[in-house]
């Protein structure tokens, strides 16, 4: 079958190659060893207003590899006013790190000034689209650069929704010029949970706007999948990755692993499977099945500190 590919654009942003998330578990390893990877992604909120060892490591890593800032609390879809204090601190961190781009999620984290620290799903309506587009434009003006938004894993849909997520994102890109962070694992999770074709999703988004791809391993809880970031990437997600790389013409790839984080060499071995996949060599990895209750979007890795 002939595959339609796009002229690579990525908002003019570079293909950084293969990267991993910068996590405190690997700080001491990275201070003593070659990081091997092409680039790192940080969780922005971990380093905002943080002037301890984490900031020191970030400064070191930013000196040897490109950094991308990935946020979880911009709450771009919330009906609360934009949090200007948050944006100011985000900008201050960006001034320090000089990231290649800044990303967050198509979601909201709470209202009435409450932050649930979850990536809550948007009702995919025209009202939401207008609301989010206006806020994306404000954020882009404030940051002086395009915002890159990721599709989240979702576990529920609103009856009010009138758009598919790929339609919502496509129109958002058209209206705002924002970029997309295509999380192929999230597409896989949501497609399972909401019974849509994940390949159709990936074929339908504007490929020229895809700046980055996320890979991760989910967990099966029987009738639904949870985005746990704690497992190897399963075979179906690798197939979606292969498709996305073909359609986009090649974009930066980031492996996310946020709970039960493996040692650094093991993490890199998992990341390097991406190279084999691009040669059409797919690993045989089933989706992990949970034996006990699992936590979506684990965050406690952000709390790890080291004492004397």
């Amino acid at each position: 079958m002939h595959m339609k590919t796009t002229t690579t654009n990525r908002l003019g942003l570079p293909n950084l190659g293969l990267g991993v998330g910068l996590r405190s578990k690997h700080y001491s390893y990275l201070m003593r060893n070659d990081p091997v990877v092409d680039w790192f992604e940080i969780i922005s909120e971990n380093y905002m207003n943080n002037f301890g060892y984490a900031r020191h490591i970030l400064e070191y890593v930013a000196g040897i590899r490109p950094i991308v800032m990935h946020g979880v609390s911009m709450s771009i879809g919330s009906t609360d006013p934009l949090n200007t204090a948050y944006l100011q601190q985000l900008k201050e961190l960006a001034d320090f790190v000089q990231p290649v781009w800044i990303s967050d999620h198509l979601c909201w984290t709470g209202v009435a000034h409450i932050n649930t620290h979850d990536l809550l799903p948007m009702p995919l309506t025209m009202e939401s689209l207008q609301h989010v587009a206006a806020r994306v434009q404000k954020v882009q003006e404030f940051l002086g650069r395009p915002l890159v938004l990721e599709n989240p894993s979702t576990y529920m849909e609103f009856e009010a929704s009138t758009l598919y997520e790929w339609e919502f994102l496509s129109e958002l890109v058209r209206r705002t010029g924002c970029g997309l962070l295509l999380d192929v694992n999230n597409v896989f999770v949501s497609s399972y949970n909401h019974n849509f074709d994940p390949e159709l999703y990936i074929r339908s988004i504007p490929h020229h706007a895809v700046v980055q791809i996320h890979l991760a391993g989910p967990t099966s809880c029987g009738p639904y999948l949870i985005d746990t970031h704690d497992q190897p990437v399963p075979t179906p997600v690798w197939h979606l990755y292969r498709l996305a790389q073909e359609l986009t013409g090649g974009v930066s790839t980031l492996l996310e692993w946020d709970a039960n984080i493996p040692d650094y060499p093991e993490l890199i071995a998992e990341l390097n499977i991406a190279k084999a996949v691009m040669r059409d060599e797919f690993p045989d990895v089933p989706v992990f099945r949970a034996e006990q209750e699992v936590v979506p979007t684990p965050l406690d890795h952000q709390m790890q500190v080291e004492h004397e």
Binding site: E45, M48, N49, N50, F51, G52, Y53, A54, H56, S73, S78, T79, N83, Y86, W108, T109, G110, V111, A112, H113, I114, N115, T116, H117, D118, L120, P123, T125, E127, S128, H131, Y155, M156, E157, F158, E159, A160, N193, H194, N195, P223, Y224, I226, E293, V295, P296, T297, P298, L299, D300, Q302, M303, Q304, V305, H307, E308
Partner: protein, 278 residues
Amino acid sequence: MSELATLQRWLTSIIIRPGKFHDKILAADHTYELDHTRVVRSSPAVSGTERMQIYARGYVLRLMECLRADYPILQHLLGDALFDMFAQAYLAHVPPQSYSLFDLGTNFPDFLLASRPQHTAEQQQFDLPIELARLERARAEVYRSKGTESNTHGTPYEQPVFFMFESEKLATPPCLRLLKLQYPLISFVKAVEQGEQPPIPPPRDSLVAVSRKNYTIHMQELEPWQWHFLHELETTGNYVQAVQESAPLSAMPQDTLWANLMLWVPVAVDLGYISKQS
């Protein structure tokens, strides 16, 4: 209120409110005049209610994990069940507002204090966990605060005169926390971190400094005159005034305190209790 705002308030209230899940849904339906069966799509495999429950359950589990990571020694002291009970009550009482997970546990020591029983005899059982929570919170704050690592003044031993003749430039750094505790907890905390099962220490006043030097956190018990001097220096920002005000608090003649400080200030600088302002 727009449809989007209504849906977001409706779902937030279901996620963060304590209580039985079904009751929370009914309360939210009533408050926002919605019918959950018409708001969230169901599938043959997973009902709309089960789908909402993924978010509600995840909210509690995720933030509980963060509090456990923030207060590991307190969790060891209380045991998992009791710690989780307090942590869950705390989250219900004080839903998170900050974008930063670091702020999640800020008020946990105060919450434990406010949760103490009214009877004096029972209150004492709560003193140790509260004091431990204060110490763990202080360590977390010191870990992230602005430190002295980028100072390029050299060690006090390399510049032996600056603290004698430029005392007006001496100040406590942002990464210092001074605590008055009712229990000597430092050895207890270190033993738990080594994987030991130390006995609970008997109560005794303990004046503690938590500091950071070269990105390593230090906890040390101080002499009363040392602690009061640092506390007054932190409060007043003035070395001479700190000496004058801390001497009576330490029950020490001023000239003795001056003499003690001549010897101790270089040590305090080296330990990161005092830094030189540029």
